[in-house]
């Protein structure tokens, strides 16, 4: 077999060659360094262009409406308060049952990154026959992510329906983590938790009504993050879009005037070496209060 051209390599990686053609290409590539390198490069291009295309979806403040974050006021409605009392028991058991599970679509953020990293780290590695399958898996995950977004978009549209049926929302919030971290006089609500390979990111409702974001990074994660960033410098985008679109585009503080300045504090847990940073449009004092509240919760 002659050297396959770039189009054929892409077709192979896309799983579009016939079994005979695939077999011939694989047999050739196994003995041809040049083609092995070309395949590694093509794989990198596929992953990178996928990421670039999906970053088109993250346009905060553009004319494309981003996925709406959970409405800030839902928990303060009378219906919710009434339903919450009923739902606490159900919610708690749900929490136990589902605490291990991630919200659908979250791990997606790290997928393309991982794919890019692999190809860039080891361009000369042996050709993996599994490549098209990996590609397909990635695609499947992307699909899942998208369906997740659509689901997330639905409640934003049917405002009335939401008010009428607060109970499922409670269960949902509970499954993210306990929706309200009770006690100590500080009322802290988890709006959402996003998990990537490098960090856990939790958006809380702050005391003054704004949103604060807690980012928790483990030492190992920081290492891999540094690596990932090196990769990204070579490949492109610094953040992956699915993760981006799962975050509130801009904390909904516009209606609480005046808008506070943006502050941030960070600390390292002496035991776990996990690095935390807490930030939001609230005062430093308030951040400290929330930090104290969170540390108390951990104990």
């Amino acid at each position: 077999m002659q050297h396959p051209d770039e189009g054929m390599i892409h077709a192979w990686l896309d799983g579009e060659l016939s079994p005979e053609e695939s077999a011939a290409l694989e047999a050739h590539a196994a003995q041809c360094e040049q083609c092995t390198a070309a395949i590694a490069e093509a794989r990198g291009l596929i992953a990178a262009s996928s990421r670039i295309v999906s970053s088109l979806d993250a346009v905060p403040g553009g004319v494309i409406p981003a996925v709406k974050p959970a409405k800030r006021m839902w928990y303060s409605s009378a219906q919710f308060r009434a339903a919450a009392a009923v739902a606490v028991v159900a919610g708690a058991s749900l929490l136990v049952m589902r605490s291990g599970s991630q919200k659908a679509g979250m791990p997606v953020a790290t997928k393309p990154q991982a794919a890019v990293a692999t190809t860039k780290i080891a361009p000369s590695q042996a050709v993996q026959a599994a490549a098209p399958r990996a590609q397909a898996a990635q695609r499947a995950v992307a699909e899942q992510d998208f369906s997740g977004k659509r689901v997330a978009g639905v409640p934003a549209r049917g405002e009335a329906a939401k008010a009428a049926e607060p109970a499922p929302m409670v269960a949902d919030a509970m499954s993210l983590r306990s929706a309200t971290v009770a006690g100590a006089g500080v009322d802290l609500k988890v709006i959402r938790t996003d998990t990537t390979a490098t960090a856990v990111r939790t958006v809380y409702q702050s005391l003054s009504g704004g949103q604060v974001i807690l980012v928790e990074e483990s030492p190992a994660a920081l290492m891999s993050k540094a690596m990932a960033q090196t990769m990204e410098r070579r490949v492109g985008a610094a953040q992956s879009a699915p993760f981006a679109s799962n975050l509130p585009a801009a904390p909904a503080v516009a209606d609480t005037s005046p808008v506070a300045a943006y502050h941030s504090i960070s600390w390292v847990d002496p035991v776990t070496r996990h690095r935390y940073s807490l930030s939001g449009r609230v005062t430093v004092e308030e951040l400290e209060a929330i930090k104290a509240r969170l540390l108390q919760e951990k104990r």
Binding site: D5, E6, G7, M8, I9, H10, A11, D14, E16, A42, L45, I46, A48, S49, S50, I52, V53, S54, S55, L56, D57, A58, V59, P60, G61, G62, V63, I64, P65, R139, E143, F146, S147, R150, I213, V235, G236, A237, A238, Q239, A241, A244, L247, A249, A250, P251, V253, A254, V259, Y262, S279, G280, R281
Partner: protein, 172 residues
């Protein structure tokens, strides 16, 4: 469930995302998608559903763009205005917006056929569907995609380098 309802449920999400990426505007994308399904309603038989829908949507965009280029300019102006007005709460969201802008530029720099093939592929269309929707020979889809991907990544990286150089100049 009618046939069009089934088509809508199966393909609307994909089609809207494809069109949104193509147009940079979600409302417009949804409009075009709806019009596409209206056309499907009028069609007696559709052999390859997904390829047909993507082809019709692509042609609708093309026709409309030709008829009304002003509208698109207006929308992109609005979008820019809107972006300027956004109060960025985090460094990361600013970075994301910048990335999205770079990605948009890099995508727009592609030849139309390359861009459409790539966006369709990202929606999971296989080579035969892409070939049908874009009236290409099936054998040339791999070449089209490989060219599109390479150019996209190269121009994205170039734009990124330009931006970094500008930032460096601004800082010094």
């Amino acid at each position: 469930m009618s046939d069009v309802e089934r088509l809508f449920r199966t393909y609307n999400a994909q089609l809207v995302r494809y069109l949104t990426r193509r147009l940079g505007d979600r409302d417009w994308a949804e409009e075009v998608a709806q019009e596409t399904f209206v056309r499907a309603l009028r069609q007696d038989t559709i052999v390859n559903e997904r390829a047909w829908l993507f082809a019709v949507a692509t042609n609708l965009v093309r026709d409309e763009a030709r008829k009304d280029a002003r509208r698109r300019r207006h929308l992109s102006l609005l979008a820019e205005e809107e972006r300027d007005n956004v109060v960025e709460s985090e460094q990361t969201s600013l970075e994301r917006a910048q990335e999205a802008a770079l990605a948009r530029k890099a995508i727009d720099a592609l030849a139309e056929r390359d861009r459409l093939a790539l966006l369709m592929r990202e929606e999971g269309l296989d080579y035969s569907e892409i070939a049908e929707a874009l009236e290409l020979s099936p054998g040339s889809v791999g070449t089209t995609l490989s060219r599109a991907r390479r150019r996209l990544v190269e121009s994205y990286e170039e734009l990124q380098r330009d931006r970094e150089a500008r930032e460096k100049n601004a800082a010094s």
